[in-house]
């Protein structure tokens, strides 16, 4: 059962091959067996899951089920879930039982999905390896000596290890796409504004987006259908109709214009990864697409701009974590200053502190113009680069990450080395565009992902492009065999 995709499981439930309760129990058993090693879950919500499964079976029996009814999924622990710990991977929120549900969670609940639990992540979504979590690192099921990527490392690893058929992730600089690449699964970061951020603990408000992580584009389409759409509680949510993402999955790719940015294929790119990307692109040629080189000349500035904007916004977003109304409070604070300094000093990990400090510095008196304002101008340049490219091509492709999953500790000593693993993904967040990562092969025993970037609100096309590739290749079916 655990090898089946969401689409296959949905059909199985409909055909009464198995019940949601059986399915849920099977996954829970797998989690109990394999997760002590992988550490993908922070909280397993067994009772909630079984109760939801029972309710789902009722609906299935009455013939009132939707495509996600009775399907087990798991939520990245960045989403507030009512009555359940919502820790964001941090000691700061280890004791935080959310009094409300995020919109994303509400929508999955309304769709009848069964929540197995909350998934591990880099603390406050800051990281590219899931090594900064208060709850310990997550392991990559393909090689447990390597990282799963981050910050949605728990989500990626759990899906790859078949502990859950689908999981939610969030992506601010690549946190869905890069772990999807490292774990050989399919992940999608939607256009900024497509999915509501209400109840999604904020890291960098103008960059964060929630998205689906599963093993196929078809599954991602089913999940995105539940997640996407206007939410009046989020001022940055876009009010426009949500298309039927599944309906156009099979559209022919004849005439599709693919752009390959020359900046993505420079000297730093691992030759094995380059080979696999080009092989994947060849498959697209066979499907009728044309390929040309494009240029995104300001791409090299995306890292610097991102590492101003994201820390600046997060330094402000995390100011509310002060030990006053909820969350971690230090013991016996002697005065107000002590309460703040120690609660925050003890509650946050080192990477989070680094980013808060950089962000605070960038916004401080005298530095605003040189840093924050400058970074926003570079954002404009990067967006313009993409706009120009999309006048000539429909989608852009390239590697998701410069490397495959690296070993634990390999990059954690040097923040910059870690930041460089995001170089292909960050620009997409700065521009607010949608992007996917799909598995396109292996380098050694480790998965390699290819990034597909679309124009604004072109998720249907992205999913279609990914799906057609998955219809003629088998990489997405490979399993680490746990």
């Amino acid at each position: 059962m655990h090898e089946k995709t969401i689409a296959e499981l949905s059909l199985g439930l409909k055909n009464k091959d198995f019940s949601s309760q059986e399915l849920t129990q099977a996954f829970l058993t797998r989690v109990k067996k394999l997760d002590p090693e992988l550490n993908t879950f922070i909280t397993v919500t067994e009772e909630i899951a079984l109760a939801s499964a029972r309710a789902a079976d009722d609906l299935l029996a009455k013939g009132e089920a939707g495509p996600l009814t009775g399907i087990p999924i798991a939520q990245k622990d960045i989403f507030c879930t009512k009555g359940v710990r919502s820790s964001c991977g941090s000691k700061m929120l280890d004791n935080f039982i959310s009094p409300y549900d995020a919109t994303v969670v509400e929508r999955f609940n309304q769709a009848g999905a069964v929540m197995l639990g909350k998934l591990n992540m880099d603390e406050f979504a800051m990281g590219s390896s899931n090594e900064t979590s208060f709850y310990g690192p997550v392991k990559n099921p393909w090689d447990t000596g390597t990282v799963p990527g981050g910050s949605s490392g728990g989500s990626a690893s759990a899906v790859a290890a078949r502990l859950v058929p689908g999981a939610t992730g969030t992506d601010t600089g690549g946190s869905i796409r890069q772990p999807a690449s490292f774990c050989g699964i399919t992940g999608l970061k939607p256009t900024y504004g497509l999915v509501s951020r209400w109840g999604m603990i904020a890291f960098a408000s103008s960059l964060d987006q929630a998205g689906p992580m599963a093993r196929t584009a078809e599954d991602c389409a089913l999940m995105l259908q539940a997640m996407a759409g206007f939410d009046p509680r989020d001022s940055t949510s876009v009010d426009q109709p949500v298309p039927d993402y599944s309906a156009t999955l099979g559209t022919s790719l004849e005439g599709l214009r693919i752009g390959l940015p020359k900046e993505f294929f420079g000297e730093g790119l691992d030759p094995e990864i380059a080979r696999l990307i080009h092989a994947a692109v060849d498959e697209y040629r066979k499907l009728g697409a044309t390929v040309k080189e494009v240029s995104l000349p300001n791409m090299h500035l995306s890292g610097p701009a991102y590492y101003v904007v994201a820390p600046a916004e997060c330094s402000s977003n995390l100011a509310r974590l002060d030990g006053v109304r909820y969350g971690y409070r230090c013991t016996e604070p002697k005065d107000l200053k002590d309460l703040y300094m120690r609660s925050r000093g003890e509650g946050f990990g080192a990477e989070v502190k680094r980013r808060i400090l950089i962000g605070t510095y960038a916004l401080s008196a005298g530095y605003y113009d040189a840093y924050y304002l400058k970074a926003q101008k570079i954002r404009r340049l990067i967006s313009e680069d993409f706009k120009r490219a999309y006048q000539e091509v429909d989608v852009i492709m390239g590697p998701t990450s410069p490397s495959v999953a690296f070993r634990f500790g390999e990059k954690s000593a040097d923040p910059i080395a870690m930041y460089l693993s995001d170089i292909y993904t960050i620009a997409v967040n700065l521009a607010g565009l949608p992007g996917m990562s799909i598995p396109v092969g292996f380098s050694g025993s480790l998965p390699v992902g290819m990034q597909i970037i679309g124009n604004y609100f072109s998720e249907s096309r992205l999913l279609n492009v990914a799906h057609r590739y998955q219809q003629v290749t088998e990489w997405h079916r490979r399993s680490p065999g746990l």
């Binding site: 103008s206 610097p304 109304r325 969350g327 925050r344 808060i356 926003q376 340049l381 967006s383 040097d414």
Partner: protein, 95 residues
């Protein structure tokens, strides 16, 4: 761009983050490295470029002036580290 330990302490105070005194140098070092990385931005001239605050070219939505929230104090205060008589307690604030 090199940050001194003093500057690190100043920023840490602004951000209300306690940093162990034996770690200040390490932070100064890491942060200086990050600032060097960021410094690459200055290579390009952006004098005539408009900043992009939001990928969305949209205006702020307005909501009607209506009371839609009820009293959930009991629920919210379950989360609080220290509460008395419905008030959140903090070490005495001196004005």
């Amino acid at each position: 761009m090199s940050l001194t330990s003093e500057e690190v302490n100043r920023i840490a105070w602004l951000a209300r983050l306690a940093i162990d005194s034996d770690k200040t140098d390490a932070y100064a070092h890491d942060l200086s490295g990050i600032l060097d990385f960021i410094e690459q931005m200055s290579a390009v001239d952006t004098a005539t470029v408009e900043p992009l605050a939001h990928p969305l070219d949209q205006a702020q939505r307005l909501r009607p002036d209506a009371v839609t929230e009820t009293d959930q104090r009991a629920l919210f205060q379950q989360l609080a580290p220290a509460v008395e008589a419905g008030l959140y307690l903090v070490p005495k604030v001196i004005e």
